[in-house]
Amino acid sequence: MSRYDLSIGIGGAAGQGIATPGDILARLFVRRGLHLSAYNAYQSIIRGGHIFLTLRTSDEPVLSFGDKIDVLIALNQDTMDRHLRLMRSGSAVLYNADKIKPGNAEPGVQLCHFSVKELAPGVKGDLVQNTIALSALLRLIGVEFKVLEEIINVQFRRKGPTVIEENLAVARAGYEYAGSRFQPFPWPLPDTGKRLAFFEGNQALAMGGAAAGVRFYCAYPMSPSSGVLHWMARHARQLGIVVRQVEDEISVINMAIGAAHAGCRAMCATSGGGFALMSEALGSAAMMEIPVVCINVQRAGPATGVPTKTEQGDLWQVMGAGQGDYPRIIVAPTNIPDCFKTVPRLFNLVDRFQCPGIILSDLLLSEGRASVDPAELDFNVPIDRGEVIGLNGALAPDGGYKRYRLTESGVSPRALPGTPGYMHTVATDEHDEDGVLISDEYTNPHKRRAMHEKRMRKMQGILAEIEPPKLFGPEEAQVTLVGWGSTEGVIREAMQRLAADGIAANNLQVKWLVPFHGEAVTRLLTKGAKTIIVENNYSGQFARYLRSETGLAADGHIRKYDGEPFMPHHIVDGVKAILSGAQRVYVPVHEIMV
């Protein structure tokens, strides 16, 4: 079977009903076992503006939302004006000719116009154009009408038989019209006979929390992290999770710390601005040695920035969050299913090492959607709560209980409040082994040093637990593309394109950021291939970090900071430009105006 690869773009204004056809298509694809990647480019408004939803499907895993659009559904003139010039030969544009006029299209672009007035005379409301466009699209990609019939029956079940009948009639008209007027795509939409699931990254993070046994979740709404809160709130009763929206992010993290200290697995999520407010408390979790997980879903900054646009711009903020040195774990999941798997893994680590854990996601991952094989969604994950007195047999050593006993690993057994006989006070001030403040003795440099070293020793233990990054792709390569977090998919798609053009590239995608496997990375990056670092920010935050950890300076940089994620050709073009010696920092131009 030839590789099927179809990309559909639906554009219009906020409020024009783009989500519903988007959902219908996504479900249709995954129910045929096709893979999916969806990305919604939107603006921070409730009505108006420009929204552009891209859905790409294939019978092979889809790595990114791609470079091209095969079918454009233009729901308003604005969408037509912005996108028509990008449509290439062989593609199709669907639009309501009553309201929308096309401009000049490239030869070979099929202009599929229909008239709502003609096909649905007397039917009121704007949404009818969406129904016609959707039914025409299904005809174009060879989906039988009965599939659409089922979808409409389900979709309008609650609105009663009259509404269903009306919509079916409109759909039938659109479907038949498309059959008689438009040229269908040469390959009908395949059916692999399997069924996949799909979800967005925020859902994956929330579900990962549920799998990990999170019992307390709190947040203050902030795009693009609110999806985690919404999922948690919707499933709170079913899963037995106390979910609270509280007054601000300072409260969020402190509440989570309180709950975690009392014995719950506690999690919270925010975006950059909220994370900034949490800084002091994150350090306090490290000082009190309380395990807690915080997700930062990055959006374009600084300050309130661009609330609905993506960026990888918080790396330095997260690494510098809070005063002083303290043990912590920072991890950037590399794809949407990885978001799900990372959360329980991180909880086991923070429980074992009694320190805060931070997940760096971004809008691309968190609000992007992807297909996943349901077999990959294993909720039955190993749970390791670390050394907790009374939980797994950890007992106080002879000589009485000391909450912060100096140990080789840096980990001291904790006793949960309420346990008889192990009373102690945890403190954000520096303290002695038994929790007594060092300042109570008018400070004691020896004790301070011993306690500080005890805490920091945890970092070695954590590093031994996390796997070093590996090279993906050909061992012998001309270029190593280094990325971190969410850019994995697009980099890997770019590698395939480069290979087709005769450029052998491999990829080092870094997931575990702190602690960092500096030695292993140095070994991989000094094999002779040129190193090009790909990141979604202006100043090359990861490049600077890599240099500080390894001393390695990259041969070239591909950076993007316009709020939109990379498309594969941005990386391909950048690699070629850098290899030809033109630029060390290549900044692609984003050609789709979204």
């Binding site: 709190c218 037995g240 697995r265 009190m288 969604l377 309420g418 006070t425 945890v426 403040l437």
Partner: protein, 310 residues
């Protein structure tokens, strides 16, 4: 002593299965001696709190004392219960999380006026409107002690401090009417020179199901030369001696605003018909404290979650 009996809907539970010995004040002695200046009002709160725990028959491990940062906030280190000495202003947020995670713990939050009404003001407001089941004792010395004597949100207008050498030009916060208006369901004021009276107020607060504020005048003998023990000794009058009815909203507000030759202490306001946050939280209604529930998602629930995604 005529502080009206404050029977909560759920009595303080007797010690663990009745087997443990009765707690004594000695059992509650912390690992270190308080480092407060001799004569600091905070000593009065520490001894009143210990006495209240003893009289309520609570075991040390059943109580968690949580504070922010300040002289007064050092208190958890001086008492042998579970304790948290958190960040400046954040104790109430931490305490809310701990309370929801284990609603069987008795949570007592202690701190200063700067900590609670200044930097922690937002949390103060929201913890009250949520009616979180905890007892909040503010050692109100109308100054910043630990940072060596700057103006505080409760310093009276005109007070000269290191940061207001010309005298403060801002109006002080009056925590009593503020708390009543914000939804606190037990609002009292004590004075550390009247420890027995304070013990009763604290006991009432711990027994009370819901948010209990006890604003305690706790003179800073080192930095506040205006609001001294003498100042309060001459002025404090007990509400119960004046026949105050703590269920009368208008009277509670009126008494709360009094400040002059007579400054009332005692129980201003109390409501028992408002459920606390944990009582309203449906997830807590069954299955015991969150902190003790088993982790993981049951297989049938996991299956239905996955089905929803297909």
């Amino acid at each position: 002593m005529s502080v009206s009996p404050t029977e909560g809907r759920r009595e303080a539970r007797p010690a663990g299965a009745g087997a443990a010995a009765r707690t004594t004040v000695k059992d509650l002695k912390g690992r270190v001696e308080p480092d407060w200046c001799p004569g600091c009002g905070d000593f009065g709160v520490l001894s009143a709190l210990k006495q209240a725990i003893v009289e309520l028959g609570l075991q040390p491990h059943e109580v968690m004392v949580i504070s922010g940062i300040g002289c007064s906030s050092n208190l958890p280190g001086f008492i042998n219960t579970y304790g948290m000495h958190t960040l400046h202003g954040r104790a109430l947020a931490v305490a809310t999380g701990a309370q929801l995670a284990n609603h069987e713990l008795k949570i007592v939050v202690t701190g200063g006026d700067g900590d609670g009404y200044g930097i922690g003001g937002n949390h103060f407001l929201h913890t009250m409107r949520r009616n979180v089941d905890l007892t909040y004792i503010v050692m109100n010395n109308q100054i910043y002690g630990l940072t060596t004597g700057q103006v505080s949100p409760t310093s009276v207008k005109g007070m000269k401090t290191k940061s207001t050498p010309e005298g403060s030009i801002e109006n002080p916060i009056n925590p009593i009417p503020l708390a009543i208006a914000a939804g606190a369901t037990y609002v009292a004021r004590g004075y550390t020179g009247q420890v027995k009276h304070l013990v009763e107020l604290i006991k009432g607060g711990i027994r009370h199901r819901g948010f209990a504020l006890i604003d305690a005048f706790s003179p800073c003998v080192t930095f506040n030369h205006d609001n001294t023990h003498d100042f309060f000794k001459q002025r404090t009058v007990k509400l119960e001696d004046r026949g105050h009815d703590p269920t009368n909203f208008a009277a509670a507000m009126e008494q709360g605003y009094r400040w002059g030759d007579e400054i009332p202490i005692g129980l201003f306001w109390k409501r028992e018909d408002i459920p606390s946050l944990d009582e309203l939280e449906p997830v807590l209604a069954e299955g015991g404290p969150l902190a003790r529930r088993p982790l993981g998602v049951p297989p049938d629930v996991a299956r239905s979650l996955i089905r929803d995604l297909m």
